[in-house]
């Protein structure tokens, strides 16, 4: 009986320390070899993605008509952004509801490209509507109108959000 008991004790020790020992029938070489091949295919697919990005931009958004609208948060802002709606010349072109991860990414300094489209050269109306919650917990809803002038090159605008204001930066 004592042998059996010792067997259990040894079993216990092995159990405590055996995280890395699982799946031992699959060799380290097999895991590494497959992992390297997966890295290669990731690299190949990324190259395809880069080329597709370029084709898409050239084909769908040529520079003479391209307009891109980006959304950012003013550094240090803690208000909760729930949604943003963009209207261009009176037509809604983008509407986005923010997840917690997206909001956190904006708070960390990331910039979201909310809309890419095509417009004629000249002046255009851009309307931005924001729904959110202030850091105090109060609901707020804000709308701002801006004039955007499109010329020959691609038009890039940044809408910068703060609890108190929405501003437009022409890039």
């Amino acid at each position: 009986m004592f042998c059996w008991l010792r067997g259990i004790i040894i079993g216990l020790s092995v159990l405590v320390l055996s995280f890395a020992a699982y799946g031992r029938e699959i060799s380290r070489e097999q895991i590494t070899g497959l992992d390297e091949q997966i890295q290669e295919i990731k690299s190949d697919v990324l190259s395809i993605a880069v080329e597709l990005n370029q084709i898409e931009e050239k084909l769908l958004y040529p520079s003479n008509t391209q307009v891109a609208v980006f959304v950012s948060l003013v550094s240090g802002e803690t208000f909760r952004l729930d949604s943003v709606e963009i209207q261009l010349d009176g037509k809604p072109v983008a509407h986005h509801l923010y997840t917690f991860k997206e909001l956190e990414a904006l708070q960390n300094g990331g910039v979201q490209r909310i809309y890419t489209g095509n417009i004629r050269s000249g002046d255009h109306d851009l309307q931005v509507s924001v729904i959110g919650k202030s850091s105090g917990g109060a609901d707020f809803r804000k709308t701002e109108r801006f004039k955007v002038n499109k010329d020959v090159g691609p038009k890039i605008v940044e809408i910068s959000m703060a609890a108190q204001s929405i501003s437009l930066k022409d890039r």
Binding site: I8, I9, G11, L12, S13, L15, V16, L17, F19, A20, Y22, G23, R24, E25, I26, R28, Q30, L34, D35, E36, Q37, I38, Q39, I41, K42, S43, D44, V45, L46, I48, A49, V50, E51, L52, N53, Q54, I55, E56, K58, L59, L60, P62, N64, T65, A68, F70, S72, K101, E102, E104, A105, L106, N108, G109, G110, V111, Q112, R113, E158, R171
Partner: protein, 629 residues
């Protein structure tokens, strides 16, 4: 044995430090770079790398990179792309990108941080010697935010290379680092034990096991330290000390089951079976799939047997046998389910990915295996990496499928544009060529006038500014004069004088009005220039639009054809790799379940013998009691 401890520690800390890195620039000049960061901050590494690669490629392709907005972030962008690749577990490419940064013309702090990351890659990829060579290249100033992490990594690398004394020295100096509370003293304990300083090593493990903290990770390492130290003491037959240490492990922590089992054995080894039953009775009510809980189903009746309560022991062995049998059936069904592919199909279900507790939820789905048996396997490094690879491949498969659809749509757009523009363009081009030649002619005329006016500033030429009426009159006068001279007819002297007077008047007007006319001519030229500018703008706009019309459907065929081929090739490769990776995961899972099944089968045999033995003893005891009575 301690190699396993070290590996465990390495895994926990490697995972905790992997999130450090990406930071946003002080002032963002390039919004597309900001977009790459937006994806990176969400852990969407594929899109982050694809965006940044696109930007970097465009940046390196422009004639004057210093005029590109990415120019202001280029060092960080080059650095970040390696960092993103590292997070996306593309260690080979990340290594190359980081090496490029190291070899580039960068500041010392940037270079040192890059080497730190490269060393971490080698370390994570189980190449401790390369990691050591890398980390030894760090010299000079190190960014303050990675100083502690670097020292800790250095100690881990030294431990992995068997240089425990040096590792211990570094860890001793690092003890004040709050962000690594618990991990440093734990590793220091392990390093000292490996270095042969058992007493000191145990002291550090003991110190880790007494840390007062509310942080979940610190509490986990605290529990782990107590479990490791307790197990070691148990092995060294220091049962009383082992029990004290094992009893410090939280009852609701991930290590509690093993600690309860060990604590019971610490008492049992000292013959204190009543006391052993206290932790074991708690453990025996826990999740039946847990290895410790299964083991205790034998241990509890064993303790009752030792306490001469053989009837109770026999009943409990019987109950254990029933449970073992149920679990063996469950494991058999789980192995079958995995072999039939249900496990892999369930793994990639979208709704499960939204839930942090998805592994547990998986077991509730029909025909999926009993995942409680796989929890420990799923926490292992190899399985985790394989699983992440499988998820990544699934993501690639979906992307490739979407792109195939995108390319079909692009082709349709191109065809529609071609069908619209091609019949229109020849007529437009003809008209444009006609207008273009007219325009060139007029522009040449304008240039001539301008040249002439400029010359007249130096040499005034009033005759150039005669009106058309004046020119006609001048020609008529000249005609009359020629007729008079050639005809030989006699005319009165009055006619000749009148002709002269007329010429005089004409001359007078042209010369006296010259200044005014010259000013007016300049004014008209300015007006003309204005019109010419407008014309040129329109002309350029037309040329651009005309070019854009052609470019909107020409020159894509080869690119799209090549892309389709590459996507198809990648699609096939991804399918093949997914099958291999999936098979590997299934094998790991089946191996694990088989191991547990065999263990349970062993328990079942032991329980059967022990139950029979307990019944015999119980019967014998009853007989003896009857006889004595």
């Amino acid at each position: 044995m301690y190699r396993l401890f070290v590996l465990l520690t390495i895994l926990i800390v490697a995972a905790s430090s992997a999130s450090a890195g990406t930071s946003n620039p002080k002032e963002l000049k390039d919004l597309y770079f900001g977009e790459a960061l937006y994806y990176a901050f969400q852990g969407d590494w594929f899109d982050a790398i694809a965006r940044l690669d696109t930007e970097l490629m465009q940046h390196h392709g422009v004639d004057e990179p210093e005029r590109d907005t990415l120019y202001y972030h280029i060092n960080q962008a080059e650095f970040d792309v390696g960092d993103f690749e590292l997070h996306y577990r593309m260690h080979q490419r990340a290594g190359r990108a980081i090496t490029a940064v190291i070899e580039g013309n960068v500041e010392e702090t940037v270079r040192n941080e890059a080497i730190f990351r490269l060393a971490r890659i080698y370390f994570q990829k189980d190449q401790p010697l390369n990691a050591l060579y890398a980390v030894e290249r760090i010299s000079g100033t190190v960014p303050p935010r990675i100083r502690d992490d670097l020292a800790f990594l250095r100690s881990q690398i030294l431990m992995a290379n068997g240089r425990f004394a040096e590792a211990a020295r570094i860890l001793r100096d690092l003890q004040d680092a709050e962000s690594l509370e618990g991990f440093i003293t734990y590793n220091l304990g392990i390093a000292l034990l490996k270095d042969g300083k058992a007493l000191e090593g145990r002291q550090y493990l003991d110190r880790t096991g007494r840390i007062d903290s509310n942080d979940a990770l610190t509490l986990a390492i605290k529990d782990k330290s107590n479990l490791v130290l307790g197990s070691k003491l148990l092995e060294e037959k220091k049962f009383e000390d082992a029990k004290q240490v094992l009893d410090r492990v939280r009852l609701n922590g991930p290590f509690s089951n093993r600690a309860l089992l060990g604590s019971g054995w610490a008492d049992a080894f000292q013959g204190r079976f009543e006391r052993a039953l206290v932790p074991w009775s708690i453990l025996v009510t826990r999740e039946v799939t847990d290895a410790s809980a299964q083991e205790v189903m034998l241990a509890v009746p064993y303790a009752y047997g030792k306490l001469n309560v053989h009837s109770k022991a026999a009943v409990m062995y019987g109950s254990g046998l029933e449970k073992f049998s149920t679990e063996i059936d469950k494991l058999g069904a789980s192995i079958k389910s995995i072999r039939e592919g249900h496990f892999l199909r369930a793994l990639v279900r979208e709704e499960l990915k939204q839930d942090a507790n998805w592994v547990v939820k998986l077991r509730k789905l029909p025909q999926t295996p009993e995942t409680y048996y796989l929890l420990e396997l799923m926490a292992s490094h190899d399985f985790q990496e394989s699983l992440k690879n499988y998820f990544d491949l699934e993501q690639l498969r979906k992307k490739l499928k979407d792109w195939q659809g995108d390319l079909d749509a692009f082709e349709e757009i191109i065809e529609q544009r071609r069908a619209y523009y091609e019949p229109l363009l020849p007529a437009i081009d003809r008209k444009f060529r006609r207008l273009d030649s007219q325009m060139r002619l007029r522009l040449e005329q304008r240039d001539r006038i301008e040249k002439r006016l400029k010359a007249m500033l130096v040499v005034p030429r009033p005759d150039y500014l005669a009106t058309s009426k004046e020119r006609t009159i001048r020609e008529q006068i000249a005609l009359l004069e020629r007729k008079l001279a050639a005809g030989g007819t006699t005319v009165s002297g009055g006619v000749e004088a009148r002709i002269k007077r007329l010429r005089g008047v004409l001359h007078w007007n042209i010369y006296t009005e010259y200044d005014r006319r010259f000013t007016e001519a300049h004014k008209h030229l300015r007006d003309l220039n204005h019109e010419v500018d407008r014309l040129k703008t329109q002309y350029n706009a037309f040329v651009r639009t005309r070019q854009a019309a052609t470019q909107s459907y020409e020159g894509y065929d080869d690119v799209i054809c090549r892309q389709k081929f590459q996507i198809q090739k990648a699609w096939e490769k991804v399918g093949e790799l997914m099958a291999r990776q999936g098979h590997m995961l299934e094998t790991m899972a089946v191996n694990e379940l088989t191991r547990r099944l065999e263990r349970l089968a062993e328990f079942q045999i032991k329980a059967r013998f022990a139950m029979a033995d307990s019944y015999d003893r119980a019967t014998r005891a009853q007989t003896e009691e009857r006889v004595s009575r």
